[in-house]
C-alpha cells in the first residue's frame, strides 16, 4: 500500500513537471503579449496613459474625391467598415460555394471522401503571398484570363484594382476552411434522419431546410469563424489585387507598424480584437440558442 501511494506521488510529480514549462510559456507568450496590446493602445510615446490613440481611431478624418466633389470621411471607420463588408461578402460566397461541395464530399464513398479532403487542402500549402501574386497575373487587364477571353472573342474584363478582385483573393485563400468543418459535421450526420424525413413526406427542399441545414449548423458556424477572422484581418491581398486602393484594417495595422507608430498600431489591433470577440460571442450564442430550440 505504501509503495503504491509513493508511485502515485511520483506520477503526480511527473505530471506537474511535464506541465510546468508549457504553463509558464503560455502565460509569458500568449497572455502577457495580449496585455501589451492594451497597454500600448492606451499609452503615448512616453508610456503615459492616454485615450488619444483610441479617439484617433474613431475620429480621424481625411478627404476623399467623390466624382467632382471632395467628401470628408472618418478614415479608420471607413477602412473598418470596408474590411467588414468585404470579409462578410467573401464569407457568404465561401458558404454558398462550399456548402454544396461539403455535402457532395460527405455523400461520396469513404475512399473518395479522404481523397477529396486531401486534394482541396493541397493549394493551401503553396505560399500565401505567391498564390495571391498568381491571381494578380491572372486577373490583370493583360493577364491570362483576359487573353483567354479574347481568344474566344469575348470582351475582356476589368477586374484588377476593384473590390471584386479582393473578394476573389479572399475566397480563394479561405474556401477550404469553410468546406472542412461543414464536411466533418455532415460526415457524422445520421442518414436515417434524412430517410425518415422523406418517409414522412418531406420533399428535397424540405429535407435540406428542416433536417440537413439545422444538423450542419455547428459546422457552418465554425466555417464562418474560420473564414471571417482571417479575411477581416488580412493584409497583402488588397495591396496586390486591389492595387492598394482598398485599404483594409490589416493594411492599416501594417502601415502603422512600418511607420513605427506602435501605439496607434496597437490601438487598431485592440479595436479589432474587441470587435472580433464580440462578434464571435454573438455567433456562438446564436448557435447555442438554435441548438437549444
Amino acid at each position: 500500500m505504501k509503495t503504491s501511494l509513493s508511485v502515485k506521488g511520483q506520477r503526480s510529480l511527473i505530471q506537474r513537471i511535464a506541465l510546468a514549462p508549457y504553463s509558464v510559456w503560455a502565460v509569458l507568450f500568449i497572455l502577457v503579449p495580449l496585455v501589451f496590446v492594451a497597454y500600448y493602445a492606451f499609452t503615448d510615446q512616453n508610456y503615459a496613459f492616454t485615450t488619444d490613440n483610441i479617439t484617433r481611431f474613431f475620429t480621424a478624418t481625411s478627404q476623399v474625391a467623390d466624382g467632382d466633389t471632395v467628401r470628408e470621411v472618418h478614415t479608420y471607420l471607413l477602412i473598418f467598415g470596408r474590411s467588414l463588408k468585404l470579409a462578410v461578402i467573401s464569407t457568404l460566397i465561401c458558404l454558398l460555394l462550399g456548402y454544396p461541395f461539403a455535402y457532395l464530399i460527405a455523400k461520396a464513398s469513404p475512399r473518395t471522401q479522404s481523397l477529396l479532403i486531401t486534394v482541396i487542402m493541397i493549394p493551401m500549402w503553396m505560399n500565401f503571398l505567391i498564390r495571391t501574386y498568381a491571381w494578380m497575373t491572372i486577373l490583370q487587364d493583360t493577364g491570362i484570363l483576359n487573353s483567354f477571353l479574347r481568344f474566344f472573342g469575348i470582351k475582356p474584363l476589368h477586374i484588377i484594382g476593384t473590390e471584386g478582385a479582393v473578394v476573389i483573393g479572399m475566397v480563394y485563400d479561405y474556401l477550404p476552411y469553410m468546406i472542412l468543418p461543414i464536411y466533418s459535421v455532415m460526415a457524422k450526420m445520421d442518414e436515417r434522419l434524412i430517410e425518415a424525413a422523406y418517409d414522412l413526406g418531406c420533399d428535397g427542399a424540405g429535407v435540406l431546410r428542416r433536417v440537413i441545414w439545422p444538423l450542419s449548423l455547428p459546422g457552418v458556424i465554425s466555417g464562418i469563424e474560420m473564414v471571417l477572422i482571417p479575411s477581416i484581418s488580412t493584409f497583402y491581398i488588397s495591396q496586390k489585387l486591389g492595387n492598394g486602393k482598398f485599404y483594409l484594417i490589416g493594411d492599416a495595422i501594417e502601415s502603422q507598424y512600418t511607420a513605427n507608430n506602435l501605439h496607434f498600431a496597437a490601438a487598431i489591433a485592440f479595436v479589432l480584437m474587441i470587435v472580433l470577440l464580440i462578434g464571435m460571442a454573438i455567433l456562438q450564442r446564436g448557435a447555442n440558442r438554435r441548438a437549444a430550440a
Binding site: 511527473i14 510559456w25 503560455a26 507568450f29 503579449p33 493549394p123 505560399n127 503571398l129 505567391i130 493584409f235
Partner: protein
C-alpha cells in the same frame, strides 16, 4: 452513391478554381522568358538563377534552422504539456488551459504577431537594447504558434491509449518515469511525429507572424518572397515557391504514409496482445 452529372461538373469547376492558379504558377516557373503571363518555352533558367541567388540561399538556411529548432522545441514542450493536461484532475484548470491553448489558433495572425512584437520591443527598450527583434524573438514566436497544434495531435493519442498499460508496467516493477518512456511514449509516438511535422511545415510557411517579429537582419523564405514581390517579380520567385510547395507536399505524404503504417502497427500489436496470438 454515384455522383450525379451536375455534381461532377460542380466538382470539376471548383477544382479548376482551386488548382488553376497553382498550375499556372508552376508552369510559369519553367518559362524561358521573363513574363509571368506569356509562356515562351520550357527552360530551367529560373531554377539556375535561384541557385545563384545568395540572398535566397541565406533565407533557405535561416528558414530551415528556425523551422527545425521551433518544431523540435515545440514538440518536446507540447508533448510534455499534453501528458500533463491529460492527467489534470481539476476541471477548472483544464478549462483554463484549453482556453489559453486555443488563443493562438483563433486569434488572427496579425494580432498574434503584433502582440508578441510589442512585448519584445518593450522588454528590449527596458533593457536599453537598440533593436530587440532577432532570431531569438522569431524562434519564441514560432514555438508559440506551433505549440497548440502539437498538443492537439498528442492529446487524442493519450486519450485513445489503454489506461491499463502504464498501470500494468508499474505493477510489474517499472518506475513511473520508466513506464512513461517504455509504455506511453511508444503508444503516442504517431501523434508526436505528426505534431513535429505539422509544426515544421507551419513554421516553414508562416509569413505574417514572422513579418512582425523578425528584425532587419534575419530573413526567412516567406519574408524573402515578400521583399521580392515589392519589386518586379520574375519567374525566379515562382521557381522558389514551386520548390517549397513540393518539399512541403513530400513531407505531408511521408507523414500520411507513416501515420497509416504506425496506426496499423499499433492495431496489430493490440490484436496480438488481446488475443494472445503471435
Amino acid at each position: 452513391m454515384k455522383m450525379k452529372p451536375i455534381a461532377k461538373v460542380y466538382t470539376a469547376l471548383l477544382m479548376l478554381f482551386l488548382f488553376a492558379p497553382i498550375a499556372i504558377l508552376i508552369v510559369f516557373s519553367f518559362n524561358s522568358a521573363k513574363s509571368l503571363s506569356v509562356f515562351s518555352g520550357f527552360s530551367l533558367h529560373w531554377y539556375q538563377e535561384l541557385l545563384r541567388d545568395s540572398e535566397t540561399l541565406d533565407a533557405v538556411r535561416n528558414t530551415l534552422v528556425l523551422a527545425v529548432s521551433a518544431s523540435v522545441i515545440s514538440t518536446l514542450m507540447g508533448t510534455a504539456a499534453a501528458v500533463g493536461i491529460y492527467r489534470l484532475r481539476s476541471r477548472y484548470l483544464r478549462a483554463a488551459l484549453d482556453t489559453v491553448t486555443n488563443i493562438p489558433m483563433i486569434n488572427p495572425d496579425i494580432i498574434t504577431g503584433i502582440s508578441l512584437m510589442l512585448m519584445f520591443v518593450f522588454v528590449g527598450r527596458f533593457f536599453g537594447a537598440a533593436t530587440s527583434l532577432n532570431f531569438g524573438t522569431m524562434l519564441i514566436s514560432h514555438i508559440t504558434f506551433c505549440l497548440p497544434y502539437v498538443i492537439l495531435q498528442v492529446l487524442p493519442k493519450l486519450q485513445q491509449m489503454d489506461h491499463a498499460l502504464p498501470e500494468a508496467a508499474m505493477d510489474l516493477g517499472c518506475t513511473p518515469l520508466k513506464a512513461f518512456f517504455k509504455v506511453e511514449v511508444p503508444e503516442i509516438m504517431p501523434g508526436i511525429v505528426t505534431g513535429l511535422i505539422m509544426a515544421f511545415t507551419l513554421s516553414l510557411d508562416d509569413f505574417v507572424i514572422s513579418y512582425f517579429t523578425s528584425g532587419n537582419g534575419f530573413q526567412t523564405l516567406p519574408i524573402r518572397i515578400y521583399n521580392m514581390t515589392k519589386k518586379t517579380v520574375t519567374p525566379k520567385m515562382y521557381a522558389l515557391a514551386t520548390l517549397i510547395f513540393f518539399v512541403i507536399l513530400a513531407m505531408l505524404l511521408i507523414t500520411n504514409l507513416m501515420d497509416a503504417n504506425t496506426a496499423t502497427d499499433v492495431q496489430d500489436a493490440k490484436r496480438r496482445r488481446n488475443t494472445g496470438t503471435q
